[in-house]
């Protein structure tokens, strides 16, 4: 498809700008002005509308396709949450207003939403207090690592490293490094859990903390979690819960009650806010009582008279990690979703997510090598090693695109060869799951009888397999 720059035609424009000049503000000398206008497209509104509508139709999305992308929790996004976030009273509020004198009174609605959502997340996770500021899951990880560092500094602890299992998302080690720590990676054992013996050997007085995803990225709930937490606390280390997979246990298990000291939640996953093609996300962080002083500022507080206010007076705080209060419009969506789910809906959601994953796992088990012998949680992981000779997981993924599904997550986790990670989510019907499994099995069989047909996929998508090596080599990153 042509680029918007390629349909540009001199003299067109998509917006009429008011012409009422009210002054001749010409105090700017030439050396402060740009030499020529930016070469933006010249297109009418109808051309812009048609162009981006056409572009949108080249996408697979949850609204149009089953999207079993493991670990990403691509579930339905209730439209009411959009309606709530679009209310003009919420959209048109400047983030600096509450920082004006008496300005908190101008933004009581927004502050109340933040305060209420924090309280709900604390209740759900069993942690004392939340900050809603982190703008993505990985930003939440970094915020948590910064709080870990502040805690240890305050205690005079000499800590040098953070322990992370090899099945963790790559953001965990990257966030630990950005927080100033070395990373010690622990391999997984045969059951997919962090190898407990190797873990204990690595744990020492210099361990700042451990970052654990639970259930793990293999879709397994580590039954030794309390043992791990106890050992970490014994060296005054902190236990961090990566909430990437919280969708499996919400409404049933509180990480805080298990003994975790900090956690982040991906509201764009578990709490159903749209992924938007990859962002914005939001990754609030909860902490236990002893870490409360280190939370970022500002913090939302409720005063005795019932009004809401911002509080900055926390001398031990790690400081500011975001310009304001987080991705507010995304937080509104999560709040609306939680209000509709309520206590029972929360558990019902994870129950159905786990049911759907186990249902798919058992249907596919005779064909693909399942990583889990018993029950999985909200996602199931297979290896594509059983596909026909010369056929890889990537080929399976492309063949699924041809059949109208977004592909599962592939080649992750890294410790499973030819990994296929399927997360159906609770918002898919049994009929969809049956049809998907049927297609998975057909592709499996085709890989044995006609591997070339699988290699050729996809053929129904707007483009075929793209040359990624050439993209990196030629580096055409803008339209010239």
């Amino acid at each position: 498809m042509k680029l918007i720059y390629e349909i540009s035609s001199k003299g067109r424009g998509g917006v009429r700008i008011p012409e009422d000049r009210i002054s001749e503000h010409d105090i700017i000398s030439k050396n402060l002005l740009r030499a020529a206008p930016a070469e933006l497209p010249e297109v009418s509104e109808s051309e812009v509308v048609r162009h981006y509508t056409k572009l949108s139709r080249l996408n697979y999305s949850v609204d149009t396709h089953f999207y079993p992308l493991g670990s990403c929790t691509m579930k339905h996004n209730p439209r009411a949450c959009e309606a709530a976030a679009s209310l003009p009273d919420l959209c048109d509020t400047h983030p600096l207003w509450p920082q004006l004198r008496h300005g908190g009174l101008l933004t009581q609605g927004s502050l109340q939403i933040l305060y209420s959502l924090e309280r709900m997340l604390s209740e759900i996770t069993g942690l004392a207090e939340f900050t809603l500021q982190p703008m993505a899951g990985s930003h939440g990880e970094l915020t948590a690592v910064m709080m870990m560092a502040a805690y240890h500094r305050d205690r005079g602890n000499k800590k040098t490293h953070i322990i992370i299992p090899d099945s963790a998302h790559g953001t965990n080690p990257a966030s630990a490094a950005l927080g100033g720590y070395a990373v010690v990676t622990i391999p997984s054992d045969a059951s997919g859990d962090m190898d407990i013996e190797l873990f204990k050997a690595a744990l020492n007085d210099e361990t700042a903390g451990v970052m654990l995803t639970l259930p793990s990225t293999l879709g397994v709930f580590n039954p030794k979690v309390k043992e791990i937490i106890k050992a970490v606390h014994a060296v005054d280390g902190l236990m961090y819960y990566d909430g990437a997979n919280f969708n499996a246990i919400m409404g049933r298990i509180k990480p805080g009650e298990l003994g975790f000291d900090l956690c982040h939640l991906n509201l764009h996953k578990s709490f159903s806010t749209p992924h938007g093609g990859g962002g914005p996300g939001t990754g609030p962080v909860g902490v236990c009582e002893k870490l409360r002083p280190y939370l970022p500022i500002s913090r939302v507080a409720k005063t005795k008279d019932g009004t809401y206010t911002l509080d900055y007076d926390f001398p031990k705080s790690i400081g500011y990690i975001a310009p304001f209060y987080g991705n507010f419009a995304i937080l509104v969506r999560a709040y609306a979703y939680l209000l509709m789910l309520g206590r029972d809906g929360l558990r019902a959601t994870s129950d159905r997510a786990v049911l759907n994953a186990n249902y798919v796992q058992e249907k596919l088990r005779p064909y693909f090598a399942a990583v889990t012998k018993g029950r999985c949680m909200h996602e199931c992981v297979f290896s594509g090693k059983t596909l026909g000779e010369g056929v890889h997981t990537l080929d399976l993924a492309k063949a699924l695109l041809d059949r109208g599904y977004h592909a599962p997550t592939i080649y992750f986790p890294l410790n499973v060869p030819e990994a296929i990670m399927i997360e159906p989510t609770e918002t898919e019907t049994r009929e969809t799951l049956d049809a998907f499994c049927k297609d998975m099995i057909e592709i499996f069989e085709l890989s044995k009888t006609n591997p070339e047909a699988v290699h050729a996929a996809p053929i129904t998508t707007p483009v075929g397999r793209l040359d990624e090596v050439a993209a990196a080599k030629n580096m055409e990153l803008t339209f010239q």
Partner: protein
């Protein structure tokens, strides 16, 4: 029984599905987790219907005073957003898609990103752009880290005209790293050349600047950037994107890395987010740039297509050695901005920038004529400037709010000693009449 309005299996389905996997109840699915790990104490309200939820949130939202006439900017501005921006970007195919891991099924997202990257390079006069970061503050931090990676040095000089909102973030982020972070006070409202020259030695890796700066002052930073280059440092410039409609670009000043907040490009203020951070650089530094980058390529039949490229820098491959821990971007916000920029186009974008400057120019004339009011700096500005008032600016703002006007931002909140300084910002949305009312009311409370 418990209901989740968004779970899709019927009770009959559930019975059959449980049976097919050898379970009787949902509890069986969790039987491998020790019972003592499970909690039944969830002190949450009962779920609401959509109608009840909307009533509740509407009532809460009404407690905001969103109808103030807004002259408060400080980096975040109340610009007009054409209706087509909302309507196109709320299409489910964009809205409910994920990261384009399967490029054949995500050409819409990928092409839009390629168009966005192109727009950002054209606004800034730089060679390459990533496909967005969280916000202007974290983008500046990432720009600083990138500069230190390139120079393999660990000292940073930051101009005090850089938004204090961003500088406080930089302080937090650098605290655990081996980075020496130093701020350079302004001189007459702009970067202090002599102070930079004095401090720029062979150990400084990054120089952070902003134009227009926090006080709205415009500056041609070409010489400061040349100074930085002379010392082997990388110059990072944070820019306000709308100003780039008329103002000399960081690229024209030979900046190495340009960052900024894209909120003004078609995103509502929304009480602080989501916004987007943009970042552009010279082609030779592209492998040090964090975040997602989209590149053009072809398929087996020679058709043009787009993919995420240079992923070897990223956390999912490099883990703790990655260029950054960032694994996402602000895709949907970036989409809003490229739709916005396409609608305005080459001439509309320039016109909007001119309108902002024009309104600020009129207000400058009106406000500095008020008895007792003086400009803090008599320097060229774009759409925002600082005034010295005869009394506490916080009090003045507070007084005018009861008149329905958010008169500006009191600089004293971030700059001790500037308690009487008020920052006033103007966009194309502010009318002559509104500015006249601001002038009259300001005069009446002084």
């Amino acid at each position: 029984m418990s209901i989740s309005p968004f779970a899709c299996t019927s009770p009959d389905d559930e019975k059959a599905m449980l049976a097919s996997i050898g379970a009787k109840t949902f509890d069986d699915l969790f039987a491998h987790i020790p019972a003592e790990f499970q909690s039944d104490q969830f002190n949450l309200p009962e779920g609401l219907s959509e109608m009840e939820m909307m009533q509740q949130i509407r009532a809460i939202a009404r407690k905001n005073s969103s109808d103030l006439t807004n002259f408060c900017g400080a980096g975040f501005y109340d610009h007009f957003i054409p209706a087509a921006v909302n309507s196109l970007t709320s299409r489910g195919e964009f809205f409910t898609a994920y990261t384009p891991y399967q490029p054949e099924a995500a050409q819409g997202t990928l092409q839009a990103m390629f168009e966005y990257q192109t727009a950002i390079t054209r606004l800034t006069n730089m060679e390459v752009s990533n496909s967005s970061l969280y916000d202007g503050g974290t983008a500046l931090f990432e720009g600083m880290m990138m500069a230190l990676r390139i120079t393999k040095r660990n000292r940073v000089l930051v101009d005090e005209g850089v938004s204090p909102i961003y500088r406080t973030m930089l302080c937090s982020y650098t605290r655990n790293l081996k980075i020496e972070y130093r701020e350079v006070p302004l001189s007459g409202g702009v970067a202090d050349r002599a102070a930079f020259a004095k401090q720029l030695d062979g150990t400084v890796g990054a120089v952070l600047l902003q134009n227009p700066n926090f006080f709205g002052c415009l500056d041609d930073l070409t010489d400061v950037i040349a100074q930085a280059h002379g010392a082997g440092a990388i110059a990072v410039v944070s820019a306000y994107p709308i100003s780039l409609g008329v103002v000399k670009t960081p690229g024209e000043m030979d900046a190495d890395i340009v960052t900024g907040d894209g909120q003004s490009l078609g995103l509502p203020l929304s009480f602080g987010g989501p916004y987007l951070g943009f970042m552009a650089t010279k082609k030779k530094y592209v492998r040090n740039m964090p975040g997602r980058i989209v590149g053009a390529t072809t398929d087996g039949q020679g058709r043009r297509g787009y993919v995420l490229t240079l992923q070897a820098r990223e956390q999912h491959i490099r883990r703790e050695k990655a260029a950054s821990n960032i694994c996402t971007n602000m895709q949907l916000c970036a989409l809003r901005s490229v739709v916005y920029l396409s609608l305005l186009g080459k001439h509309g974008f320039t016109d909007v920038a001119r309108q902002c400057m024009d309104r600020a120019g009129y207000a400058w004339m009106r406000l500095k004529a008020i008895k007792g009011v003086e400009p803090l700096y008599d320097r060229p500005f774009f759409n925002e400037f600082a005034l010295k008032l005869p009394k506490d600016a916080g009090e003045v703002v507070s007084d005018l709010i009861s008149e329905g006007i958010a008169a500006g931002f009191p600089a004293g909140r971030y700059y001790p000693g500037m308690e009487n300084v008020l920052l006033c910002a103007f966009t194309e949305k502010r009318t002559k009449k509104e500015i006249d009312i601001l002038a009259a009311k300001l005069e009446s409370v002084l």
